[in-house]
């Protein structure tokens, strides 16, 4: 006869093992769709001004915002997608219209836009990016710089059909 015996020790060991494997990413949810769509980040849409113009660069430049845009599922790069960017920089705060600008992705689905140096605001040096057009679902990102002295920041989008 087999007796199901769950002692505190086995329970803790099993739970610990589960947490450890989960934390290391060994347990992944089933992904029939392949590349999963990017979810909007908390606070990503804060101080968003829709319809930022496509610009050569925002203000005087000196800082690079870069990233990629791909399609959910097959992960194919998406060209010609408009990415809107804004941040608190040396030239203005997030709510100033001149702190906002947009750029288009190239054939490889990459974008890069020069902008003024991002400075810490509300406790962290961070930028905001938005994909907000009709073809795909809207995504707002809010990447944080690892150091305030960084002169670039990147963010990647995986978009799913609207």
């Amino acid at each position: 006869m087999t007796k199901a015996l769950t002692t505190r020790r086995t329970f803790l060991a099993a739970t610990g093992a589960l947490v450890a494997t989960g934390a290391t990413g060994l347990i992944l949810p089933a992904r029939a769709q392949g590349v999963a769509p990017t979810q909007s980040m908390r606070g990503g849409a804060n101080n968003y001004l829709p319809g930022a113009p496509i610009v050569e660069r925002i203000g005087g430049g000196g800082f690079w915002m870069t990233g990629t845009v791909r399609r959910a599922g097959d992960g194919a790069p998406l060209s010609g997608q408009r990415i809107q960017i804004w941040a608190h920089t040396t030239e203005g705060n997030e709510r100033d219209p001149w702190s906002h600008g947009a750029t288009l992705t190239n054939a490889n689905g990459e974008f890069r836009l020069e902008m003024p140096q991002i400075v810490p605001t509300f406790g962290q040096p961070h930028g905001h990016l938005a994909y907000d057009d009709d073809e795909f679902r809207t995504v707002f990102l809010r990447p944080v710089m690892s150091s305030a002295s960084d002169t670039s920041l990147s963010a990647d989008f995986v978009l799913e059909s609207a």
């Binding site: 980040m41 908390r42 606070g43 990503g44 849409a45 804060n46 101080n47 608190h88 920089t89 040396t90 705060n93 997030e94 709510r95 400075v119 810490p120 605001t121 509300f122 406790g123 962290q124 040096p125 809010r142 305030a148």
Partner: protein
Amino acid sequence: MSHAGTTGARRISFWLALLIAVVVPVVFAATSPLLAWRDPVYIVAGFAGVVAMVLLLFQPLLAAGQLPGVSGPRGRRVHRWVGGALVLAVVIHVGGLWVTSPPDVIDALLFASPTPFSAWGVIAMWAVFASALLAGLRRRLRPRHWRRAHTLLAAVIVVGSVVHAMLIEGTMETVSKTALCALVVVATVMAITKLRVWVKRAP
């Protein structure tokens, strides 16, 4: 040296040390390079937060009568005034941040912010308001209940504020901020220990 002389010297060195602990972080914050990129309202809001942290250092010292020359009933009276100033500083801090970036403050107040430090700050803010409210109702409470509740709120305020401040990359310089926060914690622990809040006393 006479006994009075020693006490006087001790008194002066205590106040001098306290002054340095308070003035240095304030001066660093007032000369932060970040200020160049901030609007006046944002600067005032940030500074109100620094002032609040400074006031927080005085509160346990006043409560425990450890400030030379300001102990006893006088110390407690000053403690009440500083408490009022603390409420005002917190209101200016949060109000100024609201004007600077409403969505970020709404996120913080709703505990939906992407930055963990804001939740600690909001918890400390409510504890400050609750503490002030409780102080207003103090005469209607049993002394023991009042003392324990106020001490509990004070501990929440101190822990919340210190974690809040330490997680922020802002106008405060790191070393002086850490030193001020450490002093606030030490002063609070010492005050709670000295006042023996948990001890049952005869009415």
